[in-house]
Every structure is written in structure tokens, then in C-alpha cells.
């Protein structure tokens, strides 16, 4: 599969992969683990994210995974895809489509990903552009709640113990999911476009503002006891806003989030096929169809709240393994080979 990415395309692809589904779901478990210190902990998490990006940028030339590492990554992304699809479908069933058969919703979501993945590579890559005008709109809608944000809710800080901190750091890993795509697609960025330095810092800042503000807004809007009851606090904030032109902003947003998630699913599916093609030549169309059939069938096993939670609780551990351990091994081995 040959394709070229501009710097903006690359960062947009990365941003949508990282923010898609988790933009709604990570705040509650993260704040439940870290309490009012959540915003402080997230500053540390943000620094770790930036350091990781810098390390990736420095070593991406050496990241040439062999068949074993590639198959491991494909398995990991499959787990992510199943987890995302189950979660999106469960959330849609609760908020918007309680009576629509869940298999139909999954089939439509996966069907769009299939269509995009059967087309040229540019289709998936440029799909994210649809969201560019919509994401700022989502932010403006959140700012409508400004008079209801109680900033004293952010204090006191420094009450966290070690086990809570570790739990918080683990749950914060949801916001990192997709960062490993940097290693796979960085080499496709046009050589004339600089990534190192300011562009990378700007990307990090956008990622940070996006997630950090969602933590701040959630903490400032709800008392801690109430957050425990609300699995999707950002949706809830939007639900409470009244504007004259839309009765239910939350419904408008949930459709936006669904589109966002579908594009994320398409990106992960695209990456899986891309990595598969590095080792298994040909049969791209067949493999794409098989992957998408599995993506319709597997999430059906995880449609209840407990099962969605079960699969999600395993993700941070797998994730740490795939963003730190596997890349480190692959990079070190290739560095040695080169020597």
C-alpha cells in the first residue's frame, strides 16, 4: 500500500484516532480514581505523552516490525476495535436508539468503515476532515455551561495516595490509545514537511487542551459524588444546556460522536489492513471484508454494561505493552541490526 501524507493529514489522522471514542468515556473512571487531583495528574500525564511522542519521532526510522510484532499489533487493534464498537453501540442504545436492533447499528457503522477501506487509501485518510468544523462547535456548546462551572470544585489538591495515583495513571492511558499509529505512519509523511520541533509541540498542545479541558469541565460542573453516577459526563453537561434553536444538544452531539467514532474505527481497520499487507501480499479486498465481518460479529458478544466494562478494563494493560514494550524491543533490535 503506497500513499503519502502531508503533515496536517498525519496529525489529523492521529488526533482522530486518539480522541474518537474515548473523548466521552475516559473522564469518569479517571476522576473516580484520582478525585480532585485529576487535573493535576493529567498535567503529568500530558508531559509523559509528549515525551513519548519525542521518543517516537527520534526513533521511528528504526521501527520496522517483523511478522510477529505485526500480528501482535493487529490482534491488539482488533481488541480495541471490538471494545470501541461495543461501547459505542451500548452508549447509542442508551442515549439515542433504545429500540433499534443493535446488530443493525453495528452493521451500519462497520459498513461505512468497510466502504472507506475498500476505496483508495486517501478515502480513510481524508475522512477525518468532515470533523474539522464540528469539533470546535462541540467546544462552543460545552462553553454554554460556563456559568454553572464551580471552580472551587477543583480544590483541595494533593490528597492522592500511591495506589490511587497508579490507578489514575492506568485509566489515563485511554487517552493515549492510537499514539502507536505515529510509528507506523510517520515514514509516509512528505519529507519536505517538518514534524520535529514546533509542529509536534502544537499537536501535543491540541491533544492536551482537548483532554485536559474535558477533565476540568467535568470536575467543575459536578460534585465528586455525582460524577460516580454519570458514565458520560460530557454528554450530560450538553444535555443540561438549553438553547433556543435546539431542544436537545446532547442528541446532536451523540450523532457527531458516532461519526467521530466511525472514523476512528475506519482508521484502526485501515491500519490493521496496512500492517497485514506489509507481510501478506495481495488479497487486500478479501482480508478487508473478513476483518469487517469479524467486526460485526465479535462486538455482539459484548453488548451488556458489564461486558463492555470488562473488555475496557483490560485495555490499559495491553496498551502500555504495545506503546512501550513492543516498540522498544523492535527499535532496539533494528538499531542493533543496523550497527
Amino acid at each position: 500500500m503506497t500513499f503519502n501524507l502531508s503533515r496536517n493529514q498525519f496529525f489529523l489522522l492521529l488526533f482522530i484516532a486518539q480522541t474518537g471514542t474515548v473523548s466521552l468515556s475516559f473522564q469518569t473512571p479517571f476522576i473516580n480514581a484520582t478525585g480532585r487531583d485529576a487535573w493535576l495528574v493529567f498535567i503529568g500525564v500530558g508531559i509523559f505523552h509528549y515525551v513519548l511522542l519525542l521518543i517516537y519521532e527520534k526513533n521511528y526510522q528504526y521501527f520496522k516490525p517483523g511478522p510477529i510484532a505485526s500480528w501482535l499489533f493487529i490482534g491488539y487493534w482488533f481488541l480495541i476495535l471490538v471494545s470501541f464498537i461495543s461501547y459505542v453501540d451500548y452508549t447509542l442504545a442508551v442515549w439515542a436508539f433504545p429500540d433499534t436492533p443493535q446488530i443493525l447499528v453495528i452493521a451500519i457503522m462497520v459498513g461505512i468503515s468497510l466502504y472507506a477501506n475498500l476505496s483508495r487509501a486517501e478515502t480513510v485518510i481524508n475522512l477525518s476532515v468532515i470533523l474539522v468544523p464540528l469539533i470546535p462547535l462541540f467546544y462552543i456548546l460545552l462553553l454554554f455551561a460556563w456559568p454553572n462551572y464551580v471552580w472551587t470544585n477543583l480544590f483541595p489538591i494533593g490528597t492522592l495516595d500511591r495506589s490511587e495515583l497508579i490507578k489514575g495513571l492506568l485509566t489515563s492511558q485511554f487517552t493515549f490509545i492510537g499514539i502507536e499509529l505515529f510509528l507506523f505512519f510517520r515514514k509516509h509523511v512528505d519529507q519536505q514537511h517538518k514534524v520535529k520541533g514546533r509542529p509536534l509541540f502544537i499537536y501535543q498542545s491540541i491533544w492536551m487542551v482537548f483532554f485536559f479541558s474535558s477533565v476540568l469541565f467535568t470536575l467543575a460542573y459536578f460534585p465528586l459524588v455525582e460524577i460516580k453516577r454519570i458514565p458520560e459526563p460530557i454528554m450530560y453537561i450538553l444535555k443540561t444546556q438549553t438553547v433556543s434553536f435546539v431542544e436537545r444538544i446532547d442528541l446532536f452531539f451523540i450523532y457527531l460522536w458516532m461519526m467521530w467514532s466511525i472514523i476512528t474505527i475506519a482508521i484502526f481497520a485501515f491500519t490493521s489492513i496496512y500492517v497485514l499487507q506489509l507481510h501478506v501480499k495481495g488479497h487486500r479486498k478479501r482480508n478487508t471484508i473478513i476483518l469487517h465481518i469479524l467486526l460485526v460479529l465479535f462486538p455482539l458478544l459484548f453488548l451488556s454494561k458489564e461486558r463492555v466494562a470488562m473488555i475496557q478494563s483490560t485495555l490499559p494493560y495491553f496498551h502500555l505493552f504495545f506503546i512501550m514494550v513492543v516498540p522498544t524491543i523492535v527499535i532496539l533490535m533494528n538499531r542493533r541490526k543496523k550497527k
Binding site: 436508539f97 433499534t100 461505512i112 472507506a116 468532515i130 483541595p156 444535555k239 443540561t240
Partner: protein, 358 residues
Amino acid sequence: MRVKGFILLICTLLLSGCWDEKQYRDVTNVSLAGLEGTPGNYKAQFAFPVYVDGAISYTTVTGHGISTRGAKNSTNTSQGLDTAELEVLLLADDAAKNDIYPYLDVLFRDPRNRLSANMAVVEGELAPYFEPIKGKGEDISTFYTQLIDTAARYTLVPKIDLQQTCTILFAEDITLALPYIRMDEESGMPTIAGTALFNDQREFTGEVLDRKESAILMLLQKKKGKFSRLDFLWKEGAQESPLSINIMAIKKDWKISDNQINASYKLKVSVEEFPHDSLNKKKTKKDVEDFISKELTKNFTAVVKKLQEAKSDAVGFGQPVRAFHPKLWERGDWGDTFSEIPIQVKVKVEMMRTGILN
């Protein structure tokens, strides 16, 4: 063609599935609901429009708890009741004297329910508040919405919707205060009587601030409506003059130590009525400013004292205490600490405008 097809496919996601379609002919939207009774014996009342002889009229049914499921069987309407478009929720004072959250849970949990419905506590039984109001038409929910909205616009009562109620009920550092409605003896119409105070156990204390105290509470909270008018009687020797002001802006500055709270307020006002005139004279202006400052300090202090007696921190003094003064916060239950701690209030008024007269 492929691109068009793809865009169309994406657009279909914005359409609601036919499985989830809810038509007005299938449901009856409840616009006003009420809850009365005591734990184990709660009774809810719902008002909704029905078509009789080609005209819309409003009828009521009763059920158990706010959930409309219990009411379906007792209604003579052929459709199911739905609270998705609830506009007003009234709580009878006896029901509000107990933890109200368990009965409101159903309204928060269902994603279809509107959380912007107004809330109020009513004096006595619910039934009279659900009867059509003379000269106001049959749509009583609109009447209550307008009544509460107007009072909130004039800074007479807090405008608190369902979601804000829930958030305050779960907060440890502020207590709930809801508009209090009673039947006016002369007109026989529901009228805003003031503000019902709740304690940190989520229960109505039985204490009600009157309309003037209620307006002061709003200023203490720094939550000014569009208009905020206060009336005084100014005296200079034997002379008396009515004096009305409109609050233009409020600044608050709370200084909290472990054994005292000093709450200073700076109010910028415009004079609306002052037949005595001569406000262009520096001395008169200063005299009037000092007079209003003194009166408001007295009024603010009286309201704070009443809140302390009711153990109801509706102003939210607990918010900075919890955030920045752990020693004071951890002294014990905040309701008790709040009722005991000395709170000094000082109000300073600055006259910014005198209208088109001096």
C-alpha cells in the same frame, strides 16, 4: 458518484431509526408534575393536555412516585404518559421535608427527559395548584413557568432547574434553595411567597425566606436577575422620601479564617425613585449611599443569620471553605459548623447613575 453515495451514507446516520420513532398520537406529554406525601406514601400528580370537543383542555391524574408508569393505569387517556417534555415539577412541603433524590432519580436516569424543568416547593396539598387558574387559561404549566421565570428575572427567587437541583443535592458545600409558592388568600391564585431552604441532608427545613429576604439571598449568592430592585424609606429629620434602587453589579470578597468569615460586598446601583432629589450634591449622594449601605448590611446580616439558624448554607460559603480551609471544613458536619461560625457581612454601595433627574 461514489463520493455522493458515501456522503449520503454518512448523512443517514443523522436520521433516527424508525424503531425509535415516538409519535404524539402514542404518548401524552406531561408538562406539570407534582409530588406529595411522606416516605412510603408518596403520591404524584400529573397535568397534561387532552382534546375534548375539538378543543385542548388540561386534566390531571395521580400515580405513585414521579414515574409515569404507575399513573398509566389510573388515567382515562388511551395513551401512555411521558415526562420527556416536563416543564415544571412541584414538591409539596411535606414531601420536600424528606430526602427527595430517590423520587427524582427516574427523571435523571432516562436520557429522554428534559432536565431544564423548573422546580418549586408549594405550601399545603398539591390538588389546588393543579386546578385551572381563573383568567389564565387552562395551561397551568405555562402559568408556573412564567411565574417562576418572572420572579427569577426580577431577582426574587433562584431559578433552579432539575439538573441544578440534582447537582446541589450531591454537593457537600452548598444547600438547596427553591422557589416557594403558596395560594394567595385574596386572589386565590398561586403566588411566589419566597424561597424554601433545605439542609445538607437534602430535606426542606420548613424555613421560608420572604420575598425581600429572598432577593437578598440572590445578591448574597451574586446571582442577579435581569432586574434587581430594592425599596427603602429614606429619612432626613422630619422628612421622608421613598428610595428605590436597581442593582447594576455586585462584587463579593470573602475572607475566611478558621474561626470567622468576613463577607464584603460592593454594589453598584442606579437610583430609580427618589423624590427628595438633590443627588447632584455630593453630601446628599454620600448620605444616600451610606444610608443604603447601612440598610443593606442590616438586611444581609439578618438573612445570613436566618440561614445559620436553619443550618442551610444556600449562599455557598462552604465552597471556598471546603476548597481552601481544610481545618475549618474538617471540624465536623458543615451544616453544624456553618450555623455556629461568626459571619460578618458588610455592604458598600456606590451610586453610579441617578436616572435622568438629579
